[in-house]
């Protein structure tokens, strides 16, 4: 399967923040979830992909093409971008935005745009400044989809939105993915959203790549093991990514659940979520609550 987008050993220094040797690929027809805590470097990666001249080192490939300092216009025409904020002029309405974009994107589909506005209840003639944040973000995604891009880049578009709007937005993205040649790079720290639509998960922590794997592999291989402090005294910490102690017992994340289950039959095994993996992978390393409080 060809890659829709790929970054290789991407580096960028912003003051004391350093994005270091980040590499991952988004195969065609898949949704890549980019996770990590606030300030981990997710938005930086997206910016470097869209404006490679900002990078200090590394390579960016879009649709198989190596991108030098700037993304060619023809390539940008195939990319739809939604940022965490809506940067459209606040005095414009949805129909005026359509006039602007129809004169910029070569494949702008106005009929699709109007259909999506109706389907997702986005007002046509309300000015941006009068719209709710939810409607603004829905409009941003509709505009990004209406020019029929091959790659959709979403930089935390669901943060701060209520579950109903988030659900509507995910429906919209699922509609977009009905065409199997399309791909999405979806940066978010709301991992429930990614669990619903992502095929791959890339985790960034402090500017470094933690992992980039298929979501199903993560959910099938990883597991949370629970037990008492006495039970955990007999386990080797090298078998777990992270171990957490609290007043009720001990919880640990392991990368190979079958091996761990054989080795430590005394521990209880729980199904893992992306949120568990994220919090154990990038959260505080093994600690005891009593040491903190």
């Amino acid at each position: 399967m060809a890659n829709c987008a790929e970054v290789s050993k991407l580096c960028k220094r912003y003051g004391d923040f350093f994005l270091e040797d980040v590499s991952f690929a988004i195969p065609e027809g898949t949704v890549m979830g980019l996770i990590g805590e606030n300030g981990a470097g997710k938005s930086t990666i997206i910016r470097l992909m869209l404006k490679p001249s900002y990078k200090d080192d590394g390579k960016v490939f879009l649709f198989g093409q190596h991108i030098g300092t700037s993304v060619p216009v023809a390539v940008k025409d195939d990319i739809g971008v939604v940022f965490d904020e809506c940067y459209y002029p606040d005095t414009c309405n949805a129909l005026q935005m359509a006039i602007i974009f129809s004169n910029i994107y070569t494949k702008w589909d106005n009929a699709l745009f109007l259909r999506l506005l109706k389907r997702f209840d986005v007002p046509e003639k309300k000015k941006m400044k009068e719209m709710s944040r939810g409607n603004k973000m829905k409009l941003s995604i509709i505009c990004a989809i209406a020019h029929r891009p091959r790659l959709l880049v979403l930089d935390e578009p669901t943060s701060g939105l209520d579950p109903l709007v988030r659900s509507a937005m995910l429906d919209l993205l699922q509609t977009f993915m009905e065409d199997e040649r399309r791909s999405i790079l979806f940066s978010s720290h709301i991992t429930v959203d990614l669990e619903r639509i992502a095929d791959h998960i890339t985790c960034i922590h402090n500017g470094k790549l933690r992992f980039s794997e298929q979501k199903d592999d993560l959910l099938n291989k990883y597991a949370i093991f629970k037990g008492t402090r006495q039970q955990f005294e007999q386990v080797g910490s090298e078998d777990f990514i992270n171990i957490r102690y609290d007043r009720y017992g001990v919880e640990a994340l392991c990368k190979n659940k079958e091996e761990a289950a054989k080795k430590y039959p005394q521990l209880t095994q729980d199904k893992v979520t992306i949120d568990d993996i994220l919090s154990h992978s990038v959260g505080n390393k093994s600690y005891q609550e009593s040491e903190i409080l």
């Binding site: 869209l50 023809a74 940067y87 459209y88 002029p89 606040d90 005095t91 414009c92 910029i104 880049v153």
Partner: protein, 212 residues
Amino acid sequence: MIGLMYKDMMLATLNGKSLLIILLIMLIPFITSGSTTMITTIPMIMTLLLTMTMFAYDNLNKWDRYAMVLPLTDGQVVASRYAVAYGLWLATTILGIVVSVISQSVSKTMETTIGNTIWGVVTSGLAIAVMLAIIIPLIYKFGAEKGRIIIMVIILLPTVIIQIIKPDVASLLEHRMDMDSISSILAPVALVAIALSFFVSVRIYEKKDHFS
């Protein structure tokens, strides 16, 4: 590029209509009295205010962050801004000429001919074209907020210079040849200034990190 020009026109004309009405109301006494000074400053005030409006709105909405991902080159993004700014400049200069002709016809106290008055508007229009060429790259470099201060300085500087050297404006208007020579110098200067200004603005825009 047409899409961006449409957006800029929308932003510029957002306050443009009310600005135009206010200016026309303000102009009535000048038209009837035949004061050429105010009439020739119409293009300057209008063009500079409308250009600033475009930059201020883009800054407010952080539009340049989004423009970065549109299928346009940095040169095209900057070119659309210049096209609208100089389109407005042309429109307001023509407006200045029309108003000055009306003023000349209405007023019976004018000291100069219609030809001289039009020439005066054209000359000030060319001076404004040069001013715009200086202002736009500075706004790209320093942003719309600091740009306001820069504009104030650029507008006030010639006024201060005029106050220092105190030229006889009335006699300048009477001597058509002098105005001709000023315009003939200003026309190529404006063209070169616009070309240089555009080149510098594109370079600034290319290097600017719109997320910082």
